[in-house]
């Protein structure tokens, strides 16, 4: 009996992956493609050689930072959809430091990191202020701010920070060498961002598990009114959560500028903010699961452009894979609960 139950539980947790596989295969067949070829292309696109694996790690950095930031806001019951904009704000602040402050080499990178975090935090605070004092749902506030941040980048790139030989969507002129994060060997990965990302996840894990602030945020997330009655300053704590999440997202944006693109480009946030949202949903707000899911998503993210290059398939299949997994995961979780309740009723 026990074994059977455990097996069925196992089947239920594998179900989202199986269903996703089936669903995407059907779509691929519909598009006239060989599903196995497609999936193997994604895998080989991510693992072909050590440089590709390094690319996966490069994609993991912003995802880890954004997801860990979002764990903070989610704990407080806030749906911070503005992570994209906060990344952009971080990148803008970083670029401002690089362009406007003539700093010696040793100072430059640490300052860009701080500026990025500050920029992101400010942008996060804006969404927070709209939520706490303007009663604008953070989904709409954040989304609007994302678009405004994008417009701001475009304005800077096509206006004051225009490259010497004419503005294009490819961004500003590259940063001077002292604002480039050092890379590992001939890969595109860079060590300091990786360390920062790992630290961020670790800190958020400990923060939510063992600190009073983390507990307070959870209290606000569970029941804001009761938390307020208990004497917790909910507005201040929510703002702080927005700022903290913004700072981590801003750091992600800053690192995209100094370690990936080496300049400010439009949409520097690269959709990582939205992707991180899916990751956090899949993690059930548990920090310990985040790195694994991030790895999985990064593999798809890095591997899927292959579909286009090798199979002439639209690489949005990667997004379909990521989305379907989360959708089926949520649905299966619901089914599991329904089954459990029904059993309890029969047994009870």
């Amino acid at each position: 009996m026990k074994l059977r139950e455990r097996l069925s539980a196992c089947a239920l947790s594998a179900a989202p992956f199986v269903l996703t596989f089936v669903f995407c295969s059907l779509i691929l067949l519909l598009a006239g493609a060989n599903p196995f070829a497609a999936f193997s292309q994604i895998i080989s696109g991510a693992f072909e050689n050590y440089r590709k694996i390094a690319d996966v790690i490069v994609a993991m950095v912003p995802l880890l930072l954004c997801a860990s930031g979002m764990l903070i806001t989610f704990a407080a019951g806030l749906w911070n959809i503005g992570v994209e904009g906060q990344m952009i704000a971080g990148a803008i602040a970083t670029t401002a430091v690089v362009r406007l402050l003539p700093l010696p080499a040793g100072w430059m990178l640490p300052l860009t990191v701080l500026a990025g975090m500050l920029g992101g935090a400010v942008w996060g605070l804006l969404a927070g202020l709209m939520r706490t004092y303007g009663k604008v749902n953070e989904i709409f506030g954040g989304l609007g701010l994302n678009y405004i941040a994008t417009a701001l980048t475009n304005y800077l790139i096509f206006g004051p920070w225009k490259p010497a030989d004419g503005a294009t969507m490819s961004g500003t002129d590259p940063f001077p060498a002292n604002a480039w994060m050092p890379v590992i060997g001939d890969t595109r990965a860079s060590l300091p961002p990786i360390i920062m990302a790992v630290l961020a996840v670790l800190c958020v894990y400990l923060l939510l598990r063992n600190t009073r602030w983390g507990l307070r945020l959870k209290a606000i997330g569970m029941n804001r009114l009761a938390a307020e009655r208990m004497g917790i300053n909910t507005k201040a704590n929510m703002l702080l959560a927005f700022a903290a999440c913004g700072a981590l997202a801003g750091l992600a944006g800053s690192l995209q500028a100094t370690a990936v693109y080496y300049r400010l480009i439009p949409s520097i946030s690269g959709g990582y903010g939205y992707l991180a949202q899916l990751i956090v949903l899949l993690s059930l707000l548990r920090a310990e699961w985040v790195p694994f899911i991030v790895f999985f998503f990064a593999v798809i993210h890095v591997g899927s452009p292959r579909l286009e290059l090798r199979l002439q398939l639209d690489s949005s299949l990667g997004g379909i894979l990521q989305g379907t997994i989360v959708l089926f995961f949520l649905l299966m979780r619901g089914i599991r609960e329904v089954v459990k309740r029904r059993q309890e009723r029969i047994n009870g």
């Binding site: 063992n210 600190t211 009073r212 307070r216 209290a219 029941n223």
Partner: protein, 486 residues
């Protein structure tokens, strides 16, 4: 209509709410259903009205078996129910509420419905304006609306669950008159209550429930002691009021006013001394909640002054009130008091200590200690929403700081059985002996009279001068609440 219930069973998880209840209701009678909280009265009423499904048992109407899958089917069979908290839609107006579900045609016919509504209102002496929004009505008026609505649907059996909670004495008189009249017209009434005097006043027969079973059925006239015996299986003696010496003045309200867009309460003057218990009487929404929230520092004053322990706290933040030893225990425990989804341990960790990193072992110890001291049925890892109402209230009290100057409680015993209520009050009275002043509201007039030193009555936003609780009876209090002086 003649109704017979046979061997009704209903369980919620491990709780056996109805454990084989059989009952008979004759046409045109007022049948009482008496029992303390948790005895299974409401569950039975909901089963009979189709709101909940029974696990097993039979319902016979005029000796024919029926089964209801939904309230719609029950209403079609002629059975309607007035829920304790009137199940209407506050955002809609009276007429919409009246029409909702009563008409089968596609388009509404408001003119006809309005005539019908006004006609019914006139018959029973109700004064309902069809075009006001329901959230502007008093509890009594909402009840009246439900009664006429059910009558318009052609209901022959009407179940009323604790209908006198929160209504004024005149409204109660009107309600009882209406019920008598309905019974005389052949409508069967099932009157669910835990209040002995109402049952005695109204019913021709009463069935007493205890722990999900029928403890006994009694015909009118009733003997109070017999009913109490059936209800609790034991007799209670009224504990004598302990003599208490009042301390120095603690809370001073000086011509305070609070306003919301619904109600303005002005000219509140009150001086409370340490160790004093003040009861706040009044219908829901008459202003007593606003006074409490102002004293707790939740709502700012629009005018006037408030000081606690000689500190002027007028329009100071809530945190300062907390620091000065003011605590507020709301009635909506899971909405405003506790954090559903968190364990007891996490609650205690949240409220005790200030260091950044939490010492979980210490939190566990505190939780364990408080749980056993307050007789909470649960462990430090129990999620608060899985506690019963009484245990949630105990947990809330256990979370209060040991030294408090002013304790403000909204309906401290609402929804609790007599045993739990007595335990809560024993604990509260212990606190007053240590010099804590207590401010509380209740809809139970007896509770107000029994435990208060002084009582303040609110009526439509006007606050009376405090009266000595020893000089009022629950009857006279009822009339004061209704806006009449005795």
């Amino acid at each position: 209509m003649h109704i017979e219930l046979q061997n009704i069973h209903k369980s919620f998880g491990t709780v056996h709410a109805n454990a084989g209840i059989s009952l008979e209701i004759r046409e045109g009678t007022i049948q009482g259903l008496l029992g303390e909280n948790g005895a299974g009265k409401t569950t039975l009423a909901k089963i009979l009205s189709g709101y909940q499904r029974m696990d097993s048992g039979n319902i016979l109407i005029d000796h024919k078996p029926v089964s209801f899958g939904s309230p719609a089917e029950a209403i079609r069979a002629g059975i309607g129910m007035l829920h304790q908290d009137a199940l209407d839609i506050p955002a809609l107006d009276v007429l919409d509420n009246f029409m909702l579900g009563s008409d089968t045609s596609l388009f509404l016919s408001p003119r006809q419905a309005k005539l019908k509504l006004l006609d019914l209102c006139q018959r029973f002496g109700f004064a309902l304006d069809p075009n006001t929004s329901v959230n502007k009505l008093t509890v009594g008026e909402r009840q009246q609306l439900e009664i006429v609505r059910l009558l318009a649907l052609g209901v022959r059996v009407m179940i009323l669950d604790e209908p006198t909670t929160g209504i004024s004495s005149p409204q109660k008189v009107l309600l009882f008159r209406t019920l008598h009249r309905l019974a005389s017209e052949g409508i069967s009434i099932i009157f669910v209550s835990h209040k002995l005097d109402e049952i005695e006043q109204l019913c021709s027969e009463v069935t007493v429930l205890r722990q999900g079973t029928v403890a006994g059925s009694v015909q009118s006239p009733f003997s109070t002691s017999e009913l109490v015996m059936l209800m609790f299986g034991q007799q209670f003696s009224v504990s004598p009021r302990p003599g208490i010496t009042l301390g120095e003045p603690l809370l001073e309200l000086d011509d305070a006013a609070v306003s919301s867009y619904r109600l303005n309460v002005a000219h509140m003057n009150l001086s409370v001394r340490a160790g004093e218990v003040i009861g706040l009487a009044g219908l829901e929404g008459s202003g007593q909640q606003m006074l409490m929230r102002a004293c707790a520092g939740i709502t700012p004053l629009a005018h006037g002054k408030i000081s606690i322990h000689n500190h002027d706290l007028t329009n100071r933040p809530y945190q300062e009130f907390l620091q000065l030893g003011v605590s507020f225990v709301p009635a909506a425990r899971l909405e405003e008091g506790l954090l559903p989804g968190m364990t007891l341990k996490e609650h205690f960790a949240l409220l005790n200590g200030s260091e950044f990193v939490i010492n979980w072992r210490q939190a566990e110890e505190i939780a364990q200690r408080q749980i056993s001291e307050y007789n909470v049925v649960g462990t430090p890892d129990t999620l608060v929403q899985s506690l019963s109402g009484g245990n949630q209230q105990r947990a809330l009290l256990a979370m209060l700081r040991p030294e408090l100057r002013l304790l403000i409680l909204e309906h401290p015993t609402r929804g609790l059985d007599i045993g739990s209520s007595r335990w809560i009050w024993e604990h509260l009275l212990k606190r007053r002996e240590q010099g804590t002043a207590i401010l509380f509201t209740s809809t139970d007039l007896d509770e107000l009279v029994e435990y208060s030193d002084r009582i303040v009555v609110f009526s439509s936003g006007i606050m009376s001068a405090p009266v000595d609780a020893r000089q009022v009876s629950s009857e006279s209090l009822g009339y004061m609440i209704g806006g009449k002086s005795t």
